[in-house]
Amino acid sequence: MGISVEGAVKSFGDFQALDDVSVEVPDGSLTALLGPSGSGKSTLLRAIAGLETLDAGRVTIDGEDVSTKPTQKREVGFVFQHYAAFKHMTVFENVGFGLKIRKWDKAKIADRVHELLNLVQLPGLADRYPSQLSGGQRQRMALARALAVQPQVLLLDEPFGALDARVRKDLRAWLRNLHEEMNVTTIFVTHDQEEAMDVAGQLVVMNQGRVEQSGSAEDLYEHPANEFVMSFVGEVNRLGEDFVRPHDIEVVLEADDRTEEGVVKRIVALGFEIRVEFVLGDGTDVWVQLTRNELQRLELREGQIAFLRPVQAKSFNGSTPSDPPGASTPQGSDDGGDAEVSAAV
């Protein structure tokens, strides 16, 4: 069931949450809406669910315009950041809620609920109350609840945002597997680029109520449409007009016409990866990602002078993050105005 949003506009008072947003989500895909807080990603997700009414624009699910359909008729499964568990109901009653609303008979409800509790690995907790579960368990219960009614699409709003790092990592892998198994069109919202890249097949990067770029994780990383996307999906240094990733800078001990001189300010060992911070002549801070072996070969010390050579830099010719709405691009293709500068070594 593909989802398409066309020209979505939504404002809350003076705040423009969605500013002419169009997004295509292919049938069966796992898509991440990625962006900083206030970028409109949650509002977009809620508009797809019908929890928010758009000021203008259309939402289409499986070819049908659902813009005016109330939430309860849209057949979407929605998972909330803070679980939205029904506190006065047991896990069983929570998961069975949608089925009860649909007037299933008791035996069928029981079968389905237990099937789902097995799926989300919570068997045996049916009689607990949400307050007796851990955060991760609650979120899995919420997911089971959303899946119980066999929704056309599954929408997750920062599903792991309230969980601690360890649990979050487990649940990511688990969500990916679940999606492969169920193959239901899934959209999830996150502000964590690593999480988005880890889980999703397609990413939609949003900022200030607009779509900056969409595509696969690799597309976005290798061919960012603009400075915003480049800095949001990975680490970046700015060298004059150019942007360069920390691992795309070579450190050499002899100058040539493409190098810049810098002083080593600090060397931070993060295991195998080493982070070396430089100060350039004009005062710019730049950091470079090296491996332990490279560092040993270069024998860098703090205070030492070395030379930096960008291997692969990008410049966006003054294009700003808040490009015209046309900046939302189809998968994979680069935006016309951007020039890619590859420095030959």
Binding site: Q72, E75, F78, R102, R145
Partner: protein, 269 residues
């Protein structure tokens, strides 16, 4: 850290605080039971089961049966309106609801008296239509509703704010319509707050004296609730009756306290 209060000053605080409570609250409570039963169980029971006593009890219960459900339904609806629907009139509604808290019951009684009295705005017309409000049960019901309007609203509003709307949204994504959401999600989530408000409403209706005394005319066996019965018995030097009815009311008050405590715990759970 236990607050660094040396033992003597802590003891002083205890003596002062608890001593004050004992003199002001505890002693009266003990006194009323002692006084009522000092000549055995028979006199107060006899007084309460007298025709007038029983009638007063029934009338007090009638007030509860009418006023409490009305104010409960109104209270839940009004709280939903205040919390979930922004409207510029909400501040005004909020103020009006608070009024009965701060107003003298006598003023409430007088206002009803002047509206429905023989020379009031509505009194003459209603009398012509054969509807008697003042000095009869309808007037007393109106007074009871007036004095107890705030409680359910006040107890429901914070609970509604606290539960937020996510559970309701979740219910709607699962296919529940607005009524289903209300009955299955909203109401069960606010039930202890509502129940708490209902207990306070009941206590206030049962105990109301000033407003009801003015609109009822306090005719024994006709328009006399328990508090009015206590007053009249006292005025007529029928002390066993006055104390008997008082003990009954005090027992109801203690039940209220118990219910309040239980509900508070449930609400916090």
């Amino acid at each position: 850290m236990r607050t660094a209060s040396p033992a003597p000053s802590r003891w002083a605080l205890r003596v002062v605080g608890l001593g004050y409570l004992t003199l002001l609250l505890l002693a009266p409570l003990v006194a009323i039971f002692y006084k009522t039963f000092e000549h055995g169980l028979a006199p107060p029971i006899e007084a309460i089961t007298s025709t007038n006593g029983l009638h007063a009890l029934k009338l007090s219960l009638l007030m509860v049966v009418i006023a409490v459900p009305l104010n409960t339904i109104f209270g839940i609806g009004c709280a939903l309106l205040l919390v979930r629907h922004k409207w510029k009139g909400n501040a005004l509604i909020d103020s009006v609801i608070n009024l009965p808290f701060a107003m003298s019951p006598v003023v409430i009684g007088l206002a009803l008296f002047l509206l429905y009295g023989a020379k009031g705005w509505l009194g003459p017309d209603l009398a012509e239509a054969g509807v008697e409000i003042l000095f009869s049960v309808p007037g007393m019901v109106l007074a009871s509703i007036f004095v107890s309007i705030p409680f359910v609203v006040r107890e429901t509003v914070p609970v509604l704010q606290e539960i937020g709307t996510e559970q309701e949204q979740a219910a709607s994504t699962l296919g529940a319509n607005a009524w289903q959401t209300f009955w299955r999600v909203t109401l069960p989530s606010i039930r202890w707050g509502v129940a708490y408000g209902v207990v306070l409403t009941t206590a206030r209706v049962l105990g109301e004296f000033g407003a009801v005394s003015i609109v009822s005319g306090s005719r024994s066996g006709e328009t006399e609730t328990l508090p009015l019965y206590v007053k009249k018995a006292f005025d007529n030097f029928e002390f066993p009756a006055a104390y008997g009815a008082s003990v009954l009311l005090a027992l109801l008050a203690l039940t209220t306290l118990l219910a309040m405590n239980v509900l508070k715990r449930k609400e916090d759970a």
